[in-house]
């Protein structure tokens, strides 16, 4: 193993040695790839809720509206992050079965998974999950509906800001709309392995 490391690095050195000079790292303003016209003067919550709809996601700013939507679609059995549940339980009311533990042996029992997000990106309508904020990777992925709870103050304007905020969390995931494929004849189908419905609840 060490031998292969040394062999590969030696070949890299050998390949690069004849170059008279090495290409420099380009210096550029990250602003160049930001959709500034879209962002200029906009309230980030408003822009985010608009942009997530553009990627076929949904956004709610009140728990009541979310509960009504879940009920209307018959999504009555789900998982909720135990930290959030005491706050949400009174608003869900009767008819719902909500578990605060996620049993991986019964992934298909959960119609929805409600977890905390680490933030969101307004520019692209993206939800940001990480290990610190999100209680369970599977609960945000396996159920047909994923609801991410986002704090208003944690919405980044654009991609460069979201990159700068990656921090030391070992696993950060940006989710932009539902899980999707166009593998079969280029036809868009949502809900391949992950959620078919991606909802942001901005509070």
């Amino acid at each position: 193993m060490t031998d292969e490391r040394e062999a590969i690095l030696a070949r890299v050195h050998q390949a690069l040695a004849p170059l008279p000079r090495r290409a420099a790292l380009p210096e550029y303003d990250s602003e160049i790839a930001v959709l500034r016209q879209l962002l200029a003067g906009r309230d980030l919550v408003e822009l985010f809720t608009e942009r997530i709809k553009r990627v076929n996601g949904l956004a709610f700013t009140e728990v009541g509206a979310l509960v009504a939507h879940l009920r209307a679609n018959g999504w009555l059995h789900g998982y909720c992050d135990p930290v959030l549940w005491p706050r949400f339980a009174p608003l869900f009311g009767p008819g719902f079965t909500v578990e605060t533990a996620f049993d991986r042996k019964r992934v298909d029992d959960y119609a929805f998974g409600l977890t905390r997000a680490a933030g969101a990106i307004a520019e692209s309508g993206t939800i940001v999950l990480n290990e610190a904020a999100t209680s369970r990777r599977l609960a945000a992925l396996a159920p047909w509906v994923h609801v991410a709870v986002i704090e208003r103050a944690e919405i980044f304007a654009d991609l460069p800001h979201a990159i700068a905020a990656l921090g030391s969390d070992p696993n950060v995931i940006w989710i932009t709309g539902p899980s999707k494929t166009a593998d079969v004849e280029g036809i868009l189908i949502e809900g391949v392995h992950g959620p078919g419905v991606q909802i942001a609840l901005v509070l």
């Binding site: 292969e4 050998q14 290409a23 996620f102 369970r136 969390d169 070992p170 696993n171």
Partner: protein, 462 residues
Amino acid sequence: MKFQPIDQFAATLPPDKRASVYQSTKATHEKRTKLLFDQFADPNRLREIAGGIKQHAIENLDTLLPRVEAKLKANGVRVHWAATADSACATVLGIMRARGATRMVKAKTMVSEEIELAPYLEKHGMEALETDLGEFIVQIDHDHPSHIVRPIIHKNRREIATSFEREGLGAYDDDPGTITRRARHFLRHKYLAADVGLTGANFISAESGRIVLVTNEGNSRFCLAATKCHIALVGIEKVVARDRDLALLLNLLGRSATAQELTAYTEFISGPKAAAQPDGPEEMHVIFVDNGRTEVLASECREILRCIRCGACLNVCPVYRQVSGHGYRSVYPGPVGAVLSPLLLGKKFPQKADLAKASSLCGACHEVCPVNIPIPDLLLRLRHRAKEESVPSPGTPPMGAWALLASQPTAWKAALAGGRVLNYLPAKLLPVPALHTWAATHTLPPWRGGEFRKWLRQRPKP
């Protein structure tokens, strides 16, 4: 007449396949162009910067690779190095055996196709299941992907429904929604039962040791939510120097590949799961794969190592659109494959030297490339190399007489003067039927060979 293998393949392609490849590549290309030019004032500037970022990385791999290795180790990742495909496969098998693992779920990775990992693992008694819908269908059909981003661009829904029925995934139903739902239900239980999740890497940052993975289906996320061990196969050219460059590269990758601002899932992985997180890998391995890349780095075509595998050059290529992916006889098809595939063969370069000739050199691949790779220049360099190495080129008309004429001024001048007989050539009387059809509606312009030389000689000297 004998033809190059790629021409032979194109000639036998059924018209319906050709039409479907043509239409879907064209549609994706048009959406990509609209999105980039609607949203950015100067998309070409973005491509140039992105090209500069990647060129810097490949020309500084000697410092970046040890740097990223140190970061990964500090993040709790075990790092392996594989000089060849065999060694990369053996490393994966070794990791699985050490854990007593028998079942692997795989996200889509081009390098695993390149090293033929799944067949290798199966031969050694392991299950290695593809989870990307397209790759899953390729696997159950014992087929090969024909596009970097759209592996089953060559298949229609009826073929897929037939395969699903054969595999016991349900009665024949060719509705794409039903096909997808059946794969969802079948595969989620496979993820949950698997021991190991294998992914590639779209980028890896030397600054933080962060691996970036993009998917639309969420299959790589499922691999990393359900299993306890993550193995990432990473080509050594995937390194970039800084985290901040990822924003620009991701902006270009999604738009170039599928005309999306961002792919649905973009994952930044810098190590095993957090202690408090119940789901995900406790153990993480990164295998850096060479498999010919250092030879490409030493060649005059090293720019091809900038490639971020978006497939935009395939979608725009007039040759790919007609030939489809399998004509390239390689894991990497299209213009990028025509450069990369023969180079990765090393000394066996002549086997695929014909691919560089499967291009009209129209330059469209260079124009769309998000990392600004001058693919037509590289194709010319490879054609030159094939000539230098005397690789046979069936189908190319004999050019010996022309070369003789063009390299001898006296002969050339005589031919220019003698060409005047063409003015009196009775095309209609020649025994070539195809020429009659042509001559019925066309006339040749009068031969004027030698006039430029005459003018040059006689022009007033300054």
